[in-house]
Symmetry: C2
Amino acid sequence: MQSETKTRILDAAEILLAQNGLSATSMRAITEAANVNLAAINYHFGSKEALIHAVFARRLAPVNERRLAMLDQVLKANPKRPKIRGILRAFALPILETAFQPTNEKCPVQLGALMIRLYTEPAQVVERSFNEQMASTARRFVSALHAALPKLDNEVLYWRTHFCVGCLVHTMHARPILLAVSNGTIQCDNAEEALEQMLPFLEAGLTSASNS
Amino acid sequence: MQSETKTRILDAAEILLAQNGLSATSMRAITEAANVNLAAINYHFGSKEALIHAVFARRLAPVNERRLAMLDQVLKANPKRPKIRGILRAFALPILETAFQPTNEKCPVQLGALMIRLYTEPAQVVERSFNEQMASTARRFVSALHAALPKLDNEVLYWRTHFCVGCLVHTMHARPILLAVSNGTIQCDNAEEALEQMLPFLEAGLTSASNS
DNA sequence: TTTTGGTTCAAACGTATGTTTCATACGAAC
DNA sequence: GTTCGTATGAAACATACGTTTGAACCAAAA
């Protein structure tokens, strides 16, 4: 059975890591927020690094499971020429939903911020987390896109996949940015709304002529 | 006259901040790399925070100047209906060029990594740097896009601008990612090449029908 | 009741951080 | 040659960090 202390630490760490970044979040701050003794992190996880790894793993694992399940559906529907929109949706929806879902009732932190850390913090911890969690998933999605866009040059496909990921990552913290830029007129509070804006944009980009 | 010590500190800090992030870079590491006394940072800049601010300002200021100059050219050519491609190019090229240009000969660090820090590190330092440097520039580009895409809904325009920024930010550290994902087959070492891939993608996304 | 194994706790470990101090060195102005 | 403001230097400042320690706790097993 998962000890309650352990999940309390994970919950608190997740919020603080998302808010302040990896190296700027101290173990003392985490244990204080979790109402747990300082030594509990080293006792339950071994080190701060291992805790960070656990925080990411706990969130990314179910996301990638859902992604692959949705991708399977899309591939089953059209094995020869899967629908681009479906592939994009399978990749984006599961993680966008976690990004737009508040971590808990009293703290409106978006999990998107946590994923951004994973994507940009230079620590080796993060690289390891990312590789373990994402590598195989990414590979399957790229090959699905390849099947959906057979006439696209390989290099062009890589670039455009890269652009799609950029849009997605950036959209994971879209809410605060759009709210600020639009002077409060745009309030997006669910993943479907963001998807509705993003998918036509990405599909048009993916299918555009490359020499224009 | 700008003291030589000051620029040596800025050069060293820029590299280390890009490599390790803000809070993970110590003043001792910076002063050591710059061959300067530890107290020099507080003497010349006042604090570590002020130094970080100066590092970003030194790089972003000329970029935004170039951006606005290029945008003026585009608007002058077609005042009523400026070309989308030109607007995107004016926004992306100046910063992509700094991102793909090695900081100096003996350290191949990409400045893109530094900008990523600015975009994602949660410190107030970064927010202040960003707001001071970017706010007015961003506003001018959004209104230019509005003129170029008059029939686009305001909310949709904000979303799509957001996606474009996401692509751009993500492309600023495209080189290492693409190299890894493509197993070394894609080596992009100049901004023009990245632009050639990105601009058709973004323009297609911007002009796509929003309800499809 | 005693013993055990897992858990929590306060305290200290050694190290690293940003900042400050004060003495020294340098060069131009008088 | 002396003076003065700027710049550098070595050392110490107080604080914060991640980790370790060893005693205390406590339910379940013996």
